[in-house]
Amino acid sequence: MSRRHRRVVALIALLGLVAFLPFAEGPMPGWMAWFSFASTVVLVLGGKSILAPLIQRPVGFRVGELGDPADELNTDGVGNLDPDARTRLAQVRQDPGAS
């Protein structure tokens, strides 16, 4: 078992203990820990694995509205392209994979 896996198992075991701490009302006062853990799993796995393939598109899929590298870089607080952004824009145009 890798170090990361051991850490994950330890955290989940800790969550199991928390579920029985007697600081709230009800038979399992800390069960909200499991509720929130399960909700996180549903949000992340459901969102990323099921929903994302259906609703997510590459940046630039809308012609002329999204996807121009300049659109992602040209904010200087008042909407103008600032000198640093120009440098980065040049880098991105030379190596699109860098963005």
Binding site: M32, V41, L43, V59, R62, E72, G77, G79, R88
Partner: protein, 562 residues
């Protein structure tokens, strides 16, 4: 007399002055106007009324009471914070427009009749569009026009509903409204401004396209004034409970997937407004208190969050997490101040969101909506996950994945820190002493947020989410993609339908090729790749898109008819 000075008038005078005074005085004028508006709101006596005769109708331009005053006060405070935040970055026109937007928001919440309400409502839309245009980019202009399209439909429905209601009842008074066909139109106009799903897409589409200070202003007034008018006119309408819950859950799902930091917070506006709309739907005194408290706290912490990510955009020139990372060492105070806002929106004890959110969730449960209460807790998990864990993890921590952190960051002006610090102090003060918030509520608050049980339950909820984040962290790495929202229906579908239709039309012999400036369509099928079009082919898209928006709104209107 001071008690009858309309705070919106103060801000409108400030807006004019900020536009015409020499450039170096403009920032100070904007801050002074905001402070004067705060003083004017505080000086208003509860029950103060100002009326005048308008073609035989008594128009109530000012009506201060327990519901309107907390909204007006929070709106005025945000006007000050935004003016300080934008001291070095806003130009005179933008500063003036921001003050006018604040004036319109305050005008809405102090309006005593539907005519005054409509006037300020439309002023708010107009000035908000100008703030979006202030982004001065092609995509800002496009988003601004989409914003206009959606809100024009909402405005027409609102005006139609008001006139119909006037002909039915002979009254323009704005108070609790019975649900009739006329008031249904008014309700849908309000729901559109509250960004109720599926009429929500204008918000995350438009807000990130403004300037960094413009986004702070935009995030404050439109949806919260919609919450106010719903609480004033339609408290206790059960439909709102479920619309609010859908908003709360929908917003966090999209936020978890989002890569652009300001758009992510835009989805959280939808989610948090969902909490307020649900509480308004419950309609009890405690629930309306909860909606008002949550709106007031939300104005402070969402303003702080928008300012925090705005400082990142200002310094790095990038706004996608997939382009950011590793900024903590360069921006430690921006991170700390952002985290105060993140703790507040997540409902962490000792921060402003805790007493506000607990009040809402308890009121929804006490109102007999147990399922809704659990779904709101589910949304709270998503809020903590995306705002307090995901966004900081890939913006300030980790390795820089793009070029932003590798280049020299621009220095964040001191005035930005001052505004963020003031907002953070307000959030902590309310968290430490909830009475500061509860004493402003429309009716007496009989609720104790700091009990061992409530604090423990909240901490455990946050701990479980944190463990989930650690376990699934690798799956949350920003993908650098765009999420299609419900705006697909009016931004893409009409083009796809037109493309399919065009592909079936036989070409006439000798037909001249279409000029590039026209409606150039590449048949791509209804669900295939995006139909290609030129940038200048805006008119057909507008007509088709607007028709679809109108149809969506009318379907919603039909669904709420009594």
């Amino acid at each position: 007399m001071t008690g009858e000075l309309h705070p919106a008038l103060v801000l409108l005078v400030g807006a004019v002055l900020a536009a015409v005074v020499p450039r170096r005085w403009s920032s100070a004028v904007a801050v002074a106007a905001g402070v004067a508006a705060v003083v004017a709101v505080v000086a208003l006596d509860t029950g103060a009324v100002a009326t005048f005769d308008f073609y035989g109708y008594e128009v109530t331009v000012l009506q201060a009471d327990g519901l309107s005053q907390p909204f007006a006060l929070a709106f005025a405070v945000i006007a000050v914070l935004a003016a300080v935040y934008g001291w070095r970055t806003m130009d005179r026109l933008e500063r003036s427009t921001g003050l006018a937007t604040a004036a319109a928001g305050i005008g809405v919440v102090l309006a005593g009749d539907l005519l005054t309400l409509f006037f300020f409502w439309e002023l708010k839309v107009t000035t908000a569009v100008l703030l979006i245009f202030a982004g001065r980019r092609a995509r800002s202009a496009a988003a601004g026009f989409r914003y206009v399209r959606v809100h024009l439909v909402g405005g027409v429905l609102l005006l139609g509903g008001i006139l119909w209601h006037l002909s039915d009842t002979g009254s323009l008074t704005f108070g609790a409204l019975d649900l009739t066909p006329a008031t249904s139109l008014v309700l849908v106009g309000f729901l559109l401004s509250a960004a109720v799903v599926p009429l929500n897409a204008w918000l995350p589409d438009a807000y990130p396209e403004s300037t960094i200070a413009g986004t702070v202003v935009l995030s404050a007034y439109t949806t919260k004034s919609a919450v106010y008018v719903l609480a004033r006119g339609f408290a206790g309408l059960e439909l709102l409970v479920w619309l609010g819950v859908i908003m709360a859950v929908f917003g966090v799902i999209y936020a978890v997937l989002e890569d652009e930091i300001r758009r992510l917070l835009g989805y959280h506006i939808i989610s948090q407004v969902g909490f307020m709309v649900a509480a308004v739907g419950v309609g009890t005194e405690a629930a309306v208190n909860g909606a008002t408290a949550h709106a007031t706290a939300h104005l402070l912490y969402k303003g702080l969050l928008m300012m925090g990510v705005g400082a990142v955009v200002f310094a790095a020139g990038a706004s996608r997490m997939s382009q950011l990372g590793g900024l903590a060492r360069a921006q430690p105070w921006v991170l700390v101040l952002y985290l105060v806002g993140a703790a507040s929106i997540s409902g962490v004890p000792l921060f402003s969101g805790f007493p506000a959110k607990e009040l809402v969730v308890a009121a929804v449960g006490d109102g007999g909506y147990g399922t809704a209460q659990w779904l709101l807790k589910f949304a709270s998990v998503g809020t903590f996950l995306s705002v307090a864990l995901k966004l900081p993890a890939w913006t300030w921590f980790g390795e820089s994945t793009g070029g932003a952190a590798a280049t020299t960051l621009r220095r964040v002006p001191t005035t930005m820190y001052v505004a963020m610090g003031a907002a953070a102090a307000a959030n902590i003060a309310i968290g430490l002493r909830p009475a500061l918030l509860y004493d402003l509520m429309p009716s007496e608050v009989v609720f104790t947020p700091y009990t061992a049980s409530k604090v423990f339950e909240t901490l455990v909820l946050l701990a479980g989410t944190s463990v989930g984040f650690v376990v699934l962290r690798h799956r949350l790495i920003p993908a650098g993609k765009v999420s299609v929202d419900t705006d697909w229906v009016y931004r893409e579908l009409p083009w796809r339908v037109a493309a399919v239709v065009a592909s079936r039309r036989p070409a006439a012999i000798g037909e001249a090729p279409r000029p590039d400036g026209g409606f150039r369509i590449v048949p791509a099928g209804l669900f295939g790749p995006t139909a290609s079009r030129t940038k200048t082919s805006i008119a057909p898209g507008w007509i088709l898109g607007s028709a679809v928006v109108a149809a969506m709104v009318l379907v919603l209107a039909a669904s709420v008819l009594p």
